[in-house]
């Protein structure tokens, strides 16, 4: 599974209130949710993130609330991949189970600058950046299967089984 995008850089400890404010929790459609993505950080960032389809962040990305809107709003806007030094655990789960690719790789984050074209092979565990390539530990096969199918519910449709 290969993905690529143009990097939008974010810092450490980006929390879910900043990714998707709580007052829009009743917005259920991912495309509608994407209109509120990163609202506290401003419309320009939202547009850049969606145009590039790739976020690159520091430690503890997605900390805070369990709201999966913080994942599905990205998917609704067309963001396919987040590369970070580390992820908060609920965000990580929500990403896998909703089909947003997440790569924990600090060495890759060190190499990436704003606007860089970056490519990732999830199964192989490889990131290519303009400043070189880096390996990372791929996800366990079961999680890769869910991610590649597009999330937990999509994986059931594809395999016809209730894991």
């Amino acid at each position: 599974m290969r993905l690529d995008g143009k990097a939008t850089l974010l810092g450490d400890d980006i929390d879910t209130d900043v990714i998707f404010p709580g007052r829009y929790l009743a917005v259920l459609d991912p495309r509608d949710q994407s209109r509120h993505l990163f609202e506290p950080l401003g419309e320009l960032l939202r547009q850049r993130a969606i145009a590039g389809a790739l976020l690159v962040a520091g430690w503890n990305f997605g900390c805070g609330s369990s709201r999966e809107h913080a994942v599905t709003a990205m998917i609704g806007g067309g963001i396919r991949l987040v590369v970070a030094r580390s992820f908060a655990r609920i965000y990580f789960r929500n990403a896998i189970n909703n089909g947003l690719a997440v790569v924990s790789c600090s060495a890759a984050v060190d190499l990436i600058s704003e606007g860089d074209q970056v490519e990732v092979d999830l199964a192989r565990g490889q990131v290519w950046t303009p400043r070189g390539e880096v390996a990372f530990e791929p996800l366990p096969p079961e999680l890769l299967r869910i991610l590649a199918a597009g999330g937990l519910w999509a994986s059931r449709q594809k395999t016809g089984e209730a894991a």
């Binding site: 400890d13 506290p40 503890n60 709201r67 908060a88 609920i90 929500n94």
Partner: protein
């Protein structure tokens, strides 16, 4: 036989085989809770995928706490969808508007028992660790999946052991303790971990205080935070007329990735300053910061004991001119007890506004949203940018006593000064148990 931590022991029972930290397992948790802020999505997943039966309706409870009563037509519709879903699928445990916060109800009614595993679409589910259970937040897609199929993947976390010694000084609370822990470990110091609390000081900490301690484990990235069951736990269930059997405890040779030690006697009132939870300082170093709103409530500190101490600070006094004091009981039970004890009357006489039991102003949804450039001191657990509904407002986190003392002064204040002046120390009973 492997020597197991609390997390390994409880997850082994559910996986029906011995499991170790780091392993991925499929299991069905004892409880699968969902809330008004996620129930609309559960309904959406069920409709999209044609789900017409549930794996285990008896493991389900639904709580309306995030925006109850509804403040927008959209929130009202989501709550309506949820009621219809409960009806359609025979879900009996719907705690509707006014009942209170899921974690509070789960503990105060004895629904969750020692040794159980709870999943809930709420990041503060670690709170149930106060009664020797393990709890973690998950997303709604996976909660809908659990409701439909009963099993889901989890990773068994490694564990950290935090030993507590000594005793909290008068005017210092479990909130000051947990802020001190977060200060040392940082907002990612327990990432993916199960935090186990141990040590002689636990005998001095009530279930309410343990709830505060476990609740904020997620603010250091933890998956679980747990106090193994003891005499305090047993007394809690005995008070509810519930018999609990053997309560799991970790094996003496269990492996801990990290160990930390805290002396409670050395802890002073603390505040977490904007806008990261580990930006923790002694109250004295932030004293004098002007505030506009003071908020006492939430799953972190909206319990009976919290309103009691706030009432002691504010008894016979008025909050400062220009300060709004918003008080939100964590549950209907808390609300009633605080009425019966007179604590709420004292707070209302001091100028407080009391709102419906639930999450209240914490998540920026209603009942105390902030204006630009305003400062709020709150007994809640998050001071992120925009958390209380305005990206240009500032939030300081502190104990209920500190929030009350700050409301009184109109600026951040050390509660010990007020409490000492009122002679209230003599009646502060830190071992008071929830009924």
């Amino acid at each position: 036989m492997n020597q197991q931590t609390m997390a390994e022991k409880i997850m082994s029972r559910l996986a029906a085989r011995p499991v170790r930290a780091g392993e991925f397992v499929e299991l069905g948790p004892d409880w699968t809770f969902s809330l008004d802020d996620g129930i609309g999505l559960v309904d959406r997943y069920f409709r999209l995928h044609g789900i017409d039966r549930l794996a285990a309706p008896d493991k389900i409870a639904v709580f309306y706490d995030h925006f109850a009563p509804a403040d927008t037509p959209q929130h009202a519709m989501v709550q309506r969808l949820g009621r219809q879903l409960c009806e359609r699928f025979g879900i009996r445990r719907l705690h509707d508007v006014g009942a209170g916060i899921s974690h509070q109800i789960a503990v105060e009614t004895g629904l969750v028992k020692p040794g159980q595993m709870v999943t809930n679409t709420d990041s503060h589910t670690l709170t149930v660790g106060a009664v020797g259970a393990i709890g973690c937040g998950i997303g709604v897609a996976e909660m809908a999946w659990l409701w439909a199929y009963g099993q889901l993947w989890f990773q068994v976390p490694s564990s950290q052991r935090i030993a507590l010694e000594g005793r909290l000084a008068p005017g210092v609370s479990a909130k000051d303790l947990v802020l001190s822990v977060i200060c040392r470990l940082s907002v990612r110091g327990a990432q993916y971990s199960s935090v186990e609390y141990h040590g002689p000081a636990l005998a001095t900490l009530s279930i309410a205080e343990r709830m505060t301690l476990c609740n904020m484990g997620v603010e250091m990235g933890a998956k679980f935070a747990v106090v193994p069951g003891d005499q305090v736990t047993r007394a809690h269930y005995a008070g509810l007329g519930i018999e609990v059997g053997e309560m799991p405890s970790p094996d003496s040779g269990a492996h801990y990735a990290e160990e930390h030690r805290f002396d409670l006697g050395g802890i002073e009132p603390m505040v977490s300053a904007p806008s990261k939870v580990d930006n923790v300082h002694p109250v004295s170093s932030k004293a004098g910061v002007q505030i506009h709103q003071a908020f006492i409530g939430t799953c972190t500190n909206g319990r009976f004991e919290d309103f009691e101490i706030a009432a002691r600070v504010l008894a016979g006094r008025r909050v400062a001119e220009g300060v709004r004091l918003v008080v939100t009981p964590a549950s209907r039970e808390v609300y009633l007890r605080a009425i019966q004890s007179g604590a709420l009357q004292t707070l209302i006489e001091a100028g407080a506004t009391v709102t419906t039991p639930g999450c209240g102003a914490c998540a920026g949804l209603h009942q105390g949203v902030l204006a630009a450039d305003e400062v709020c001191i709150s007994s809640s657990s998050r001071n992120f940018i925009g958390r209380m509904g305005n990206r240009d407002a500032s939030i300081y986190l502190a104990s209920p006593a500190t929030v009350a003392a700050s409301a009184l002064a109109g600026r951040i204040s050390d509660p010990r000064e007020v409490l000492a002046g009122s002679g209230a120390f003599s009646i502060v009973n830190t071992s008071a148990l929830p009924r």
